[in-house]
């Protein structure tokens, strides 16, 4: 799905959302969620090729592949968290959007902690 299709789709979606907004705001919100889903799903193939490219570059560097997995997981978490917190902001629910972002940060921290432990072990090994 090229960028032109996605841009046109967003415009059409926004027009439909505005028409329904003052009559049925809840269905307008669900329509905006659907537009977001379709546009994100449209750019999944590009993301796949970008990830394969990053993996090739990463394998050339020779660092352990597990750190690569952590990096991709963090990016995926940010991807999903941004998606849902943006929609909560659309519905003027700032507090719920902040809670979703907090949950995303906590999840990322949970993933990053073992990495920090590894680094500290390496550093303490060097200093001894």
């Amino acid at each position: 799905m090229e960028i032109t299709q996605m841009a046109a789709l967003a415009l059409i979606g926004v027009c439909l959302i505005v028409t329904i907004k003052n009559h049925r705001p809840e269905i307008a919100l669900l329509l905006s969620v659907l537009c977001g889903v379709i546009i994100l799903a449209g750019c999944i193939p590009q993301i796949k090729s970008v990830i394969d490219g990053i993996k090739n570059i990463y394998n050339m560097s020779g660092i352990e592949p597990e750190y690569m997995g952590l990096l991709l997981k963090v990016i995926g978490i940010v991807y999903i968290t941004e998606f849902s917190s943006g929609i909560c902001k659309d519905a003027n629910e700032e507090s719920i959007a902040l809670k979703v972002q907090l949950a995303g940060k906590v999840t990322i921290l949970g993933i990053a902690i073992p990495l920090m432990v590894d680094i500290l072990n390496i550093i303490s090994g060097i200093l001894k």
Partner: protein
């Protein structure tokens, strides 16, 4: 992805809005509320399936 889904959902939204106004004008408020809730449930089901499909592809892609 199925782009025509957006138009289907918009059509459901408009039909429910028109039905709602018709029913309230003819004095049947409770039926108006029921059609609104029915329309909302239909749209919710469709959107939830699409969101679940997107989240699953993201999970596979990023190796969750």
């Amino acid at each position: 992805m199925n782009v025509d889904l957006i138009f289907k959902i918009a059509a459901v939204g408009m039909i429910v809005a028109v039905l709602n106004i018709l029913l309230t004008k003819s004095g049947r408020e409770e039926q108006a509320l029921m059609t609104t809730i029915a329309g909302l449930i239909i749209v919710l089901l469709i959107v939830i399936q699409e969101v679940a499909e997107l989240f699953n592809t993201i999970k596979d892609l990023f190796g969750f």
